[in-house]
Protein backbone atom coordinates (compact mmCIF):
# COMPACT_ATOMS: atom_id res chain seq x y z
CA UNK A 1 0.00 0.00 0.00
CA UNK A 2 1.23 3.47 -0.82
CA UNK A 3 1.04 7.08 0.24
CA UNK A 4 -0.78 9.59 -1.95
CA UNK A 5 -0.58 13.33 -1.34
CA UNK A 6 -3.10 15.54 -3.05
CA UNK A 7 -2.64 19.30 -3.18
CA UNK A 8 -5.47 21.54 -4.36
CA UNK A 9 -5.83 25.26 -5.10
CA UNK A 10 -9.40 25.28 -6.53
CA UNK A 11 -12.38 26.87 -4.83
CA UNK A 12 -14.95 24.92 -2.82
CA UNK A 13 -17.72 25.60 -5.29
CA UNK A 14 -17.57 26.08 -9.02
CA UNK A 15 -14.81 24.13 -10.70
CA UNK A 16 -15.59 20.73 -9.12
CA UNK A 17 -11.86 20.06 -8.79
CA UNK A 18 -12.27 19.93 -5.05
CA UNK A 19 -15.16 17.45 -5.37
CA UNK A 20 -12.79 15.36 -7.48
CA UNK A 21 -10.01 15.54 -4.91
CA UNK A 22 -12.32 14.47 -2.07
CA UNK A 23 -13.70 11.54 -4.02
CA UNK A 24 -10.26 10.42 -5.16
CA UNK A 25 -8.99 10.59 -1.58
CA UNK A 26 -11.86 8.39 -0.46
CA UNK A 27 -11.28 5.89 -3.27
CA UNK A 28 -7.59 5.68 -2.37
CA UNK A 29 -8.47 5.05 1.28
CA UNK A 30 -10.82 2.27 0.29
CA UNK A 31 -7.96 0.63 -1.58
CA UNK A 32 -5.91 0.75 1.63
CA UNK A 33 -3.61 3.63 0.81
CA UNK A 34 -2.66 6.48 3.12
CA UNK A 35 -3.80 9.92 1.93
CA UNK A 36 -2.66 13.45 2.74
CA UNK A 37 -4.61 16.47 1.58
CA UNK A 38 -3.10 19.95 1.28
CA UNK A 39 -5.36 22.95 0.74
CA UNK A 40 -3.96 26.22 -0.48
CA UNK A 41 -5.19 29.26 -2.41
CA UNK A 42 -8.94 29.26 -2.95
CA UNK A 43 -9.22 25.65 -1.77
CA UNK A 44 -8.79 26.88 1.81
CA UNK A 45 -12.47 27.89 1.69
CA UNK A 46 -13.17 24.18 2.13
CA UNK A 47 -12.25 24.30 5.83
CA UNK A 48 -14.95 26.82 6.84
CA UNK A 49 -17.39 25.12 9.16
CA UNK A 50 -21.18 25.48 9.05
CA UNK A 51 -21.42 25.32 5.26
CA UNK A 52 -25.12 25.31 4.52
CA UNK A 53 -25.87 22.23 2.45
CA UNK A 54 -28.00 23.54 -0.40
CA UNK A 55 -28.55 21.15 -3.27
CA UNK A 56 -27.48 23.72 -5.84
CA UNK A 57 -23.94 23.91 -4.47
CA UNK A 58 -21.08 21.51 -3.91
CA UNK A 59 -20.50 21.01 -0.24
CA UNK A 60 -17.20 20.00 1.29
CA UNK A 61 -17.89 19.86 4.99
CA UNK A 62 -19.49 16.42 5.18
CA UNK A 63 -17.05 14.57 2.92
CA UNK A 64 -14.09 16.32 4.56
CA UNK A 65 -15.20 15.27 8.03
CA UNK A 66 -15.66 11.72 6.78
CA UNK A 67 -12.12 11.69 5.42
CA UNK A 68 -10.73 13.08 8.67
CA UNK A 69 -12.50 10.32 10.60
CA UNK A 70 -10.94 7.73 8.33
CA UNK A 71 -7.47 9.05 9.12
CA UNK A 72 -6.69 11.31 6.20
CA UNK A 73 -4.34 14.08 7.24
CA UNK A 74 -5.74 17.39 6.04
CA UNK A 75 -3.87 20.68 6.31
CA UNK A 76 -4.83 24.18 5.24
CA UNK A 77 -2.33 26.86 4.32
CA UNK A 78 -2.53 29.23 7.26
CA UNK A 79 -1.75 32.47 5.43
CA UNK A 80 -4.12 31.69 2.54
CA UNK A 81 -6.91 30.90 4.99
CA UNK A 82 -6.47 33.95 7.21
CA UNK A 83 -6.28 36.23 4.15
CA UNK A 84 -9.83 35.05 3.39
CA UNK A 85 -11.01 35.98 6.86
CA UNK A 86 -11.36 32.39 8.09
CA UNK A 87 -9.98 31.94 11.62
CA UNK A 88 -9.04 28.70 13.33
CA UNK A 89 -12.16 28.98 15.47
CA UNK A 90 -14.28 29.11 12.28
CA UNK A 91 -12.74 25.97 10.90
CA UNK A 92 -13.75 22.34 10.75
CA UNK A 93 -12.15 20.48 13.64
CA UNK A 94 -9.32 18.12 12.94
CA UNK A 95 -7.92 20.12 10.05
CA UNK A 96 -4.29 21.06 10.61
CA UNK A 97 -3.08 24.63 10.09
CA UNK A 98 0.45 25.03 8.89
CA UNK A 99 2.74 26.69 6.37
CA UNK A 100 3.62 25.44 2.92
CA UNK A 101 6.49 23.32 4.22
CA UNK A 102 3.87 20.88 5.61
CA UNK A 103 3.02 20.00 2.01
CA UNK A 104 6.66 19.57 1.03
CA UNK A 105 7.25 17.31 4.02
CA UNK A 106 4.26 15.13 3.10
CA UNK A 107 5.43 14.99 -0.51
CA UNK A 108 8.80 13.81 0.76
CA UNK A 109 7.18 10.70 2.26
CA UNK A 110 4.74 10.12 -0.61
CA UNK A 111 4.80 7.52 -3.34
CA UNK A 112 2.50 9.56 -5.53
CA UNK A 113 1.63 13.26 -5.65
CA UNK A 114 -1.34 14.75 -7.49
CA UNK A 115 -1.05 18.50 -7.50
CA UNK A 116 -4.22 20.18 -8.77
CA UNK A 117 -2.94 23.66 -9.42
CA UNK A 118 -5.08 24.67 -12.39
CA UNK A 119 -8.11 26.82 -11.76
Amino acid sequence: MGVLSIGVFSSLIGSMNLDFALKLADAALQKGHKVNLWLSGNATSLVKKDQKHLKDYSTGEKPLKALLEKGVEVCTCEACTLARGIQKTDAIEGVQWNAMHWYLAKIHESDRVLHIGGE
Binding site: H101, H108, R112, V113, G117
Partner: protein, 136 residues
Amino acid sequence: MADTKLAFVVQRPPYKSENPKLAITHAIAYQTVEILLEEGETVTPTLCFIGDGVLACIKDQKAMDTYGITSTETHLKNALLVDLDVFVCKEDLERFGITEDKIVNADDMGADKRIQVVPYETIQAEMEAAKHVLFF
Protein backbone atom coordinates in the same frame (compact mmCIF):
# COMPACT_ATOMS: atom_id res chain seq x y z
CA MET B 1 15.94 8.83 0.33
CA ALA B 2 17.95 11.67 1.74
CA ASP B 3 16.77 14.19 -0.82
CA THR B 4 13.48 14.42 -2.69
CA LYS B 5 13.86 16.30 -5.93
CA LEU B 6 10.75 18.09 -7.26
CA ALA B 7 9.99 19.90 -10.50
CA PHE B 8 7.58 22.84 -10.16
CA VAL B 9 6.40 23.82 -13.63
CA VAL B 10 4.58 27.13 -14.07
CA GLN B 11 2.64 27.23 -17.33
CA ARG B 12 0.13 30.04 -16.77
CA PRO B 13 0.58 33.82 -16.77
CA PRO B 14 0.67 35.67 -13.46
CA TYR B 15 -2.18 37.61 -11.81
CA LYS B 16 -5.03 35.80 -13.58
CA SER B 17 -4.76 33.05 -11.01
CA GLU B 18 -2.67 32.53 -7.91
CA ASN B 19 -0.83 29.60 -9.50
CA PRO B 20 2.48 31.27 -10.39
CA LYS B 21 2.71 33.03 -7.03
CA LEU B 22 1.83 29.92 -5.07
CA ALA B 23 4.34 27.90 -7.08
CA ILE B 24 7.09 30.27 -5.96
CA THR B 25 6.01 30.50 -2.33
CA HIS B 26 5.62 26.73 -2.08
CA ALA B 27 9.08 26.25 -3.56
CA ILE B 28 10.61 28.75 -1.13
CA ALA B 29 9.19 26.70 1.74
CA TYR B 30 11.92 24.11 1.06
CA GLN B 31 14.07 26.31 3.27
CA THR B 32 12.14 25.47 6.44
CA VAL B 33 10.90 21.97 5.66
CA GLU B 34 13.74 20.39 7.64
CA ILE B 35 11.92 21.12 10.90
CA LEU B 36 9.35 18.52 9.82
CA LEU B 37 11.84 15.95 8.48
CA GLU B 38 14.32 13.51 9.96
CA GLU B 39 17.95 14.56 10.30
CA GLY B 40 19.64 14.73 6.90
CA GLU B 41 16.46 14.54 4.88
CA THR B 42 15.84 17.35 2.40
CA VAL B 43 13.47 18.46 -0.34
CA THR B 44 14.82 20.31 -3.37
CA PRO B 45 12.38 21.94 -5.74
CA THR B 46 13.37 23.44 -9.06
CA LEU B 47 11.15 26.23 -10.39
CA CYS B 48 10.55 26.07 -14.14
CA PHE B 49 8.62 28.59 -16.25
CA ILE B 50 7.27 27.48 -19.62
CA GLY B 51 4.60 28.67 -22.06
CA ASP B 52 2.74 31.78 -20.91
CA GLY B 53 4.26 31.16 -17.49
CA VAL B 54 7.43 32.91 -18.67
CA LEU B 55 5.51 36.21 -18.48
CA ALA B 56 5.89 35.97 -14.70
CA CYS B 57 9.61 36.64 -15.18
CA ILE B 58 9.28 40.13 -16.73
CA LYS B 59 10.79 42.72 -14.41
CA ASP B 60 9.47 46.06 -13.14
CA GLN B 61 6.11 44.68 -12.03
CA LYS B 62 4.32 47.41 -10.08
CA ALA B 63 1.64 45.31 -8.38
CA MET B 64 2.35 46.91 -4.99
CA ASP B 65 1.84 50.42 -6.39
CA THR B 66 -1.25 49.55 -8.43
CA TYR B 67 -3.10 47.01 -6.29
CA GLY B 68 -1.22 46.90 -3.00
CA ILE B 69 -0.07 43.30 -3.39
CA THR B 70 3.37 41.74 -3.57
CA SER B 71 4.41 41.32 -7.20
CA THR B 72 5.37 37.99 -8.71
CA GLU B 73 8.71 39.70 -9.33
CA THR B 74 9.26 40.13 -5.59
CA HIS B 75 8.44 36.47 -5.01
CA LEU B 76 10.94 35.50 -7.71
CA LYS B 77 13.62 37.63 -6.12
CA ASN B 78 12.99 35.85 -2.83
CA ALA B 79 13.35 32.53 -4.60
CA LEU B 80 16.76 33.57 -5.95
CA LEU B 81 17.81 34.84 -2.53
CA VAL B 82 17.19 31.43 -0.98
CA ASP B 83 19.24 29.80 -3.74
CA LEU B 84 16.51 28.00 -5.61
CA ASP B 85 17.24 26.97 -9.17
CA VAL B 86 14.90 28.97 -11.40
CA PHE B 87 14.72 28.00 -15.07
CA VAL B 88 12.85 29.85 -17.80
CA CYS B 89 12.24 28.34 -21.21
CA LYS B 90 14.43 29.90 -23.91
CA GLU B 91 12.12 29.02 -26.80
CA ASP B 92 9.13 30.67 -25.12
CA LEU B 93 11.06 33.83 -24.29
CA GLU B 94 12.18 34.02 -27.91
CA ARG B 95 8.65 33.45 -29.15
CA PHE B 96 7.53 36.50 -27.16
CA GLY B 97 10.65 38.49 -28.06
CA ILE B 98 11.57 38.88 -24.38
CA THR B 99 15.28 39.58 -24.10
CA GLU B 100 17.38 38.64 -21.07
CA ASP B 101 17.70 42.24 -19.91
CA LYS B 102 13.92 42.30 -19.34
CA ILE B 103 14.06 39.37 -16.92
CA VAL B 104 13.85 39.67 -13.15
CA ASN B 105 17.08 39.46 -11.19
CA ALA B 106 17.94 39.96 -7.55
CA ASP B 107 21.43 41.39 -8.03
CA ASP B 108 20.49 44.51 -6.04
CA MET B 109 19.67 42.27 -3.08
CA GLY B 110 22.97 40.46 -3.31
CA ALA B 111 21.65 37.16 -4.63
CA ASP B 112 24.20 34.78 -6.08
CA LYS B 113 21.61 33.02 -8.20
CA ARG B 114 20.05 34.33 -11.38
CA ILE B 115 17.12 33.07 -13.41
CA GLN B 116 18.63 30.65 -15.92
CA VAL B 117 17.45 30.79 -19.52
CA VAL B 118 17.51 27.20 -20.74
CA PRO B 119 16.14 25.22 -23.69
CA TYR B 120 12.92 23.27 -23.09
CA GLU B 121 15.04 20.10 -23.17
CA THR B 122 16.61 21.08 -19.87
CA ILE B 123 13.22 21.54 -18.25
CA GLN B 124 12.07 18.17 -19.61
CA ALA B 125 15.21 16.66 -18.06
CA GLU B 126 14.36 18.29 -14.72
CA MET B 127 10.94 16.64 -14.81
CA GLU B 128 12.53 13.29 -15.55
CA ALA B 129 15.06 13.66 -12.76
CA ALA B 130 12.43 14.71 -10.21
CA LYS B 131 10.57 12.22 -8.05
CA HIS B 132 7.36 14.22 -8.46
CA VAL B 133 6.21 16.92 -10.88
CA LEU B 134 3.82 19.70 -9.89
CA PHE B 135 2.18 21.84 -12.54
CA PHE B 136 0.89 25.32 -11.78
